[in-house]
Symmetry: D2
Subunit: 161 residues, 4 copies
């Protein structure tokens, strides 16, 4: 699908917002690709990201997928708007076993209020990529609410304001 | 629902496994309750757990919910078994705004192969608790595979071994 | 949770809308309970509702759960509004084996735009009830669009209008 | 993805099973495509399949998607096995407005126990196709249990037997 971003400056807006996410910094996630309707986030392996078997925790996989989908939606909206995750569903289909995880999200449908993204996370090991997670995410667009630290959303789309 | 754990020592087994999760340590999550079919994990607020608006990242919320559900299922199985997440779905229904998040998971149905848990995450602010996430999770039971670092699952339930 | 419906006439509005659903009539579903934030739909067993093993088809289970959740949300909104399903997730946890299915849905969170419901479907056999499905559903509220056959929504919440 | 079916006779096995589904007959669904790991089911519009606004009911959309995903998984397994739906998640992204719905499901990952499918449902109107639903489904494989009416599964994968 081809998308026309409402804000030509979308990429720097996404990068600035990503840089404000303490969580992404904590886990060492990197913004790899920012295109209209498509964002890729990478997560290099670290021992402190793992679950009890030594693989990257499923919650880490979900976290980078959630961020990638949110920013994929964010690329398409005007400069004065915010995006919040309504819900997502993730299937963990293989162990997150590799030197890095690559979460790729794409907008599948966008509307005035809601946007639907799909995502896929792959584990890259010795140069070979294996899909380890698949998912679908619903996001809500808050018009007229710039994505800044000062913003205090009245809710993640369910409480209005 | 009342559950009878197969292993009387289930609580120490859960605590030992939780302690091996680098991810839980990194984010500062604490195991608060371990009962048959029911586990609670708490996450005190830290600035490095946040998304771009200053609330705790939805992926953090998902991560503690995922772990709580996994361990809720784990309480019911024999000592020589492992549990892996097949998939989960989470609705983020309010901002994770508070001094701490409390993820509570309960087993709803358990079988020879699969277990279904539901979870709820609340944000506690000035002593008042607000539900910020709801979800459902499917887990798979791997019999005869102790939950140790040496374990190398051939997959998260989809590849067998 | 206690809810205050915006329209005192909510029950007759729900019953009239249900009566317009050709699908509910085709499968023989009945509206059993209509309370603020809570709706129950029942489906008596018929051989023409089954899958290949002779149990009621999982899609039938999903259909009555979807309708029950939609109407649970609908009870809380003004007379001039509509509700559309954004998405749902359902776990089929036991065969739908019984003389009737009972789908019970409850509103868990409601906001200006979105409402989240949870549902449970039980199969009743020889007077004994067994949970056969669990789920979570997201719905969108369209203000100022009465729920009538003339209404032509531009979309199920993702396209606006 | 390319798949090698375990049973060369998979297509006739799928068609025979589909023919035993009372539910598919009731709603008028047709099996359009049966390939290894890929099944398409079509549903011509009928007034008795609709919800209150005159569009095909979301539960109908879910029902054909569920069946398509189940049979997509079923194509890959030996003749003496059954497939049951564990769970699915569906986003209804546009009204099911058209002369027919087309549900297309593909296997994304298959293992000894679980199979993950994705599906997409389109509404075809005046020859133009619009995606109206997207989803992900988890299925469980029951080895050594032929898919016949005599089969009485102890459960949909969560109770074992």
């Amino acid at each position: 699908m081809k998308f026309q971003p409402a804000d030509p400056d979308f990429a720097s807006r996404v990068r600035a917002s990503f840089a404000r996410q303490g969580a992404m910094k904590l886990i060492g996630a990197e913004l790899a690709t920012v295109e209209p309707g498509h964002v890729v986030i990478e997560l290099p392996y670290r021992a402190d990201l793992t679950q009890q078997h030594g693989f990257v925790h499923g919650g880490m996989t979900a976290m980078i997928a959630d961020s990638a989908a949110g920013y994929a939606a964010f690329t398409l909206f005007p400069a004065d708007s915010s995006i919040l995750t309504v819900e997502f569903k993730i299937n963990l289909v293989a162990p997150a076993d590799g030197e890095r995880l690559v979460a790729s999200a794409r907008v599948k449908k966008t509307g005035r209020t809601l946007t639907i993204c799909e995502f896929e996370v792959a584990a890259v090991k010795h140069g070979r990529s294996t899909v380890c997670a698949l998912g679908l995410q619903t996001l809500i667009h808050l018009a007229g609410r710039p994505d800044t630290p000062e913003m205090r959303p009245a809710g993640r789309g369910v409480q209005g304001g």
